[in-house]
């Protein structure tokens, strides 16, 4: 035999590091993704430090200054003050923590439940699949915002309750995604190969199928972050969100509605913060999708 180890190779490829380098290059190529990453970076920064850095930390905790009500934007209050004289900038900065953590909580819980349901349904097939998917379809059929509102109203306001309420309407998307991916992966030749070897179903699921489903899940999570933040804000806007004095963007916006158009600044800051955060996550999610899930590239 001739030199078998050196037969045609597609391109000189060194190792995994190269793939990462290419991926980063491609990511950097897409200017929008980079902008998204920067925005998300800022948002995450405020998620962690927002409350600490707020110029009026007392007011974040609920302190009021009724002598300074409805002051227009100024050096002391870049986004003005609200109906209780609280600094809008401080509330919005601190609100980042609430909104982003709630969004993340929703996505995380939704992912865990959905992945579990979808993986079991897709892998078990038959009766289990049928039952789980009917439940999923059913949950998808109920308008999610109304479902979340009803559950939130039932549980009462509060951060945790809100996250639970939205999560309970959030998982079916993941269940469908994961089931679809599992079904597709199940048909992959390497899975057939594993079955031919005699690998156990457990091994096939955890070693061969799930690792290959991770990318689309991560992509969906990153794309969903924005929507989760929007839903959280929507619930707050309706008035069934967090409990005071917790500052939350949707609630802040909802309160400021009554003061339009005269005290418009009370609405602008939370609204823009919401928009920018979601915008950042969506840009980043788009970039990640192009990177991790080329199949779904748009």
């Amino acid at each position: 035999m001739t030199d078998l180890a050196h037969e045609p190779a597609p391109a000189p490829v060194s190792a995994g590091g190269d793939r990462l380098r290419r991926a980063l290059f491609r990511f950097r190529q897409s200017r929008l993704s980079v902008i998204g990453a920067v925005i998300v970076g800022i948002v995450l920064f405020f998620t962690i430090f927002g409350t600490l850095l707020a110029p009026y930390p007392d007011q974040v905790a609920g302190a009021v200054d009724t002598a300074a009500r409805f002051q227009p934007p100024s050096a002391a209050h870049p986004f003005g003050t609200n109906e209780l004289g609280q600094d809008v900038l401080s509330l919005v900065m601190a609100g980042t923590t609430v909104s982003v953590l709630a969004g993340f909580g929703v996505v995380l819980i939704g992912t865990v439940i959905g992945t579990l349901v979808g993986a079991v349904a897709g892998f078990a097939g038959g009766w289990t699949d049928e039952a789980l998917m009917r439940l999923t379809d059913l949950t998808l059929t109920i308008p999610s915002l109304i479902l979340a509102m009803a559950i939130a109203a039932a549980l009462g306001p509060g951060f945790v309750n809100m996250v639970i309420a939205i999560s309970l309407s959030w998982w079916p998307g993941y269940a469908r995604l994961v089931r679809g991916e599992v079904l597709a992966a199940r048909e992959e030749t390497y899975v057939t190969a594993a079955r031919a070897i005699g690998a156990s179903p457990r091994r096939i699921l955890f070693r061969h199928i799930l690792p290959n489903v991770v990318s689309p899940i991560i992509v969906k999570m990153s794309l969903d972050m924005g929507f989760a933040i929007l839903t959280v804000a929507g619930l707050g806007f309706i008035g069934i969100g967090v409990r005071p004095p917790t500052p939350e963007w949707g609630t802040l916006l909802s309160l400021s509605r009554s003061y339009m158009p005269d005290y418009w600044w009370t609405a602008m800051a939370p609204g823009m913060a919401m928009f920018l955060a979601v915008f950042g996550f969506n840009l980043l999610g788009d970039g990640l999708r192009d990177l991790l899930d080329p199949k779904a590239r748009r």
Binding site: M1, A5, P10, A193, A194, R207, N212
Partner: protein, 277 residues
């Protein structure tokens, strides 16, 4: 006369119609009473065009699918009657190499993980510890013309031919008797195909394997196999010694098929005359 290692006895397979969005499709008869006997140590070729039932038969031999009727015997034992544990042991002795080397390797596993997986799965039979498995994986890789330096790499870093070698190494890892080769070279370029075919010949000589070779490429089958069966629309139409079938096909279908083979030789009769002006 050696005993047959694999006997396919009057196997039929019917797929029920599937309920689609706009109604039910008709049922499909994929195999109709196919009987084949493969002797130990031989290369048996199964030739058929698309939709002939080759794949269904392969999957049935691997017990990935159950035939509607008929029996499949490995070393005289009916697969359908085997217990789960016996079946698992059987899997160590019958292995397969798939057509598409790009799809048949898990992209998230290293070559080492891939090649040692059968040893892990059949730990109870093979009884190898971690270090032994790695050593054996390295041996297998060099057996198929790769080296231990490739153990830590991922499938995407290899070319098609190299991947097919990895697939062969994996198939050999559990020490099988019978290797099902499901069009192992049809996705490869001619020059690479030649290398893989040579490797297969070499391995059979060295390890005394039995090949069940499935292909639509008559030239490759002729080259590799001692006996051939032709399958058409789920039915076996002709079976016999390779040379005999290729030289004097009996059935019309076989004649047509062999006649249609594009040989790399200028057809003497139809040699084109000088261009018309």
């Amino acid at each position: 006369m050696p005993e047959p290692i694999l006997v396919i006895d009057n196997v039929s397979k019917v797929y029920p119609g599937r309920r689609g969005m706009f109604g039910r499709s008709a049922e499909v008869q994929a195999l109709k009473g196919v009987s084949i006997s493969v002797d130990r140590g031989e290369s048996f070729g199964l030739v058929g065009e698309s939709g002939s039932g080759k794949t269904t038969l392969t999957r049935s031999i691997l017990h990935l699918e159950q035939p509607t009727s008929g029996r499949i015997l490995f070393e005289g034992r009916d697969l359908a009657t085997l217990s789960g544990a016996e079946l698992r042991r059987l899997r160590a002795r019958v292995q397969i190499v798939f057509q598409d080397p790009y799809a048949s390797l898990n992209p998230r596993m290293t070559v080492q993980d891939i090649v040692t997986e059968p040893m892990v799965v059949h730990q109870d039979v093979l009884g190898l510890n971690g270090r032994q498995r790695t050593e054996r994986a390295a041996e297998l890789l060099s057996l198929v013309g790769l080296g231990p330096q490739h153990l830590r790499r991922f499938p995407h870093e290899f070319s098609g031919g190299q991947r097919q070698r990895i697939c062969i190494a994996r198939a050999l890892a559990s020490g099988p008797e019978l290797l099902l080769l499901d069009e192992p070279t049809s996705a490869l370029d001619v020059s690479v195909q030649a290398q893989v075919l040579n490797l297969l010949c070499d391995l059979q000589d060295r390890l005394g394997l039995t090949y069940f070779f499935i292909s639509h490429d008559l030239a490759v089958v002729r080259y590799l196999c001692s006996r051939v069966a032709l399958i058409y629309r789920g039915e076996l139409v002709e079976e016999g010694e390779t040379a005999q079938i290729f030289d004097a096909p009996e059935t019309e279908y076989a004649q047509m098929l062999i006649g249609a083979m594009p040989e790399v030789a200028v057809p003497s009769a139809g040699r084109p005359s000088t261009p018309m002006t």
